[in-house]
Amino acid sequence: MGACFRRDDEFRGRFCNDSLTGTAIWLTPVYRFAGPGRTMYRIDFNKLRFLICDDNPHMRRILRTLLHSFGAREAYEAEDGATALEMYSHYVPDIVITDWAMPIFDGLELAQMIRQPESKGNPYAPIIMLTGHSEKRRVTVARDAGVTEFLAKPISAKGLYQRILNVVANPRPFIKTKTYFGPDRRRNTNNAYIGPERRVGGEMEVMQQPSLLDKARSNV
């Protein structure tokens, strides 16, 4: 399977409607791959800097192998949340891939500490949570901690690649409220939603950031 996607293709999403909140969560992009003679796009992993945080050395080895195979050169590793936070400040990674259950402080706390809008560091870096937790309520908790993408183990090369592709090509605006700072948790507009409107201000005022793919299209 080719991992590039073509310029004039749809960038469609699979939406998972959260029945509790009426919002859509954890979109996974679906790319239609290009036919002959089309303009292609690919991710230059060579320019991406990763921070891997997992207390399990075997999983770190697998992640490192996958990222290097994708073409990444820079992948820093931490075995607990505290070390990862230090490395995050020091190396300023483009993408963080973290486990959930870890000693000292866990991946959830790491995400919360990165997502501090007043911090000196970069609070916007995409965070991919790769975890053995496989319950939907965990997905919601991770989302509410500011995690950008959730990937349940067992890990696959395709699953990891898709999450990376999504954070690179389809960034979401950030939302700041009294209790939340992180990527927009609404991934689509659900006209069938019945329930209280949690945001005040009118939907027309909500600004959307165009996806990188759309930006790239407009520059062609």
């Binding site: 399977m1 080719g2 991992a3 590039c4 310029r7 290009a34 303009t39 292609m40 690919r42 991710i43 230059d44 320019k47 991406l48 399990n56 075997h58 999983m59 697998i62 192998t65 195979s69 073409g71 993408i95 259950a101 000693p103 916007y124 995409p126 053995g132 937790h133 496989s134 319950e135 939907k136 309520r137 997905v139 349940a152 183990k153 067992p154 890990i155 090369a157 990891l160 690649y161 690179v168 090509a169 960034p171 605006p173 950030f174 939302i175 700041k176 409220t177 009294k178 945001r199 005040v200 201000g201 009118g202 005022e205 909500v206 600004m207 950031q209 990188l212 793919l213 790239a216 062609v220």
Partner: protein
């Protein structure tokens, strides 16, 4: 809204929230390439993962031994906070890693053990055989993998353990609706 200079953070304020559009620093990594330069990073990564597979059995043995050591500490000192955490982490790692390493049934048994640790109201009240059977099953699945008929047997064993564990958890959590809901909720990971 007035046009902002490209690359600056744009903030739109509402009554109870702000919408922040930050410049995308990852834009630089999206490249236009001629079709002839196409490559297949996913396929390449799968091959690299296959190249590691010779080490998976050894890694799985290490993970299973770590689980047994955590269990021995509990038999010796009881369910201290540290002992409980270590048993959960060891089981949780197997739950996440085992399918990748080629031991999906060990992962299923470890998931069942994780559910017991997470949802039992009092671990000291959990029948010790229930935990011991999970540990022994995981060890057996890892040790006996090379035998011809073990895949089916391992799958049946892990399913049976899960059934017994779920029966226990449903019984002890009958007055704890939040745990019951979590126990009965389907996994987001497709079953093997």
């Amino acid at each position: 809204m007035a046009k902002e200079k490209p690359g600056t953070i744009q903030v739109k304020s509402f009554a109870d929230h702000h919408v922040i559009t930050q410049p995308n620093p990852l834009r630089k990594v999206l490249l236009r390439v001629p079709e002839s330069d196409l490559d297949d990073p996913v396929g390449r990564a799968e091959k690299a993962l296959a190249g590691l597979s010779g080490e998976f059995k050894n890694w799985m043995t290490i993970e299973a031994d770590r689980l047994s050591a955590a269990h021995e500490a509990i038999l010796r000192d009881g369910f201290t906070i540290d002992n409980r955490e270590e048993l959960f982490r060891a089981a949780h790692d197997i739950k996440g890693d085992a399918a990748t390493f080629g031991f999906p049934s060990a992962g299923a048994a470890a998931e069942s053990l994780c559910r017991i640790i997470e949802h039992a109201p009092d671990l000291d009240q959990v029948p010790s055989e229930l935990i011991t059977h999970h540990i022994n099953a995981i060890q057996a699945i890892v040790r006996e993998r090379t035998k011809l008929d073990t895949a089916t047997m391992a799958s049946a064993l892990s399913k049976q353990l899960r059934g017994v564990a779920d029966e226990f958890l449903l019984k002890v959590n009958r007055d704890r609706p939040e745990h019951l809901e979590a126990i009965l909720a389907p996994s987001i990971v497709p079953a093997e």
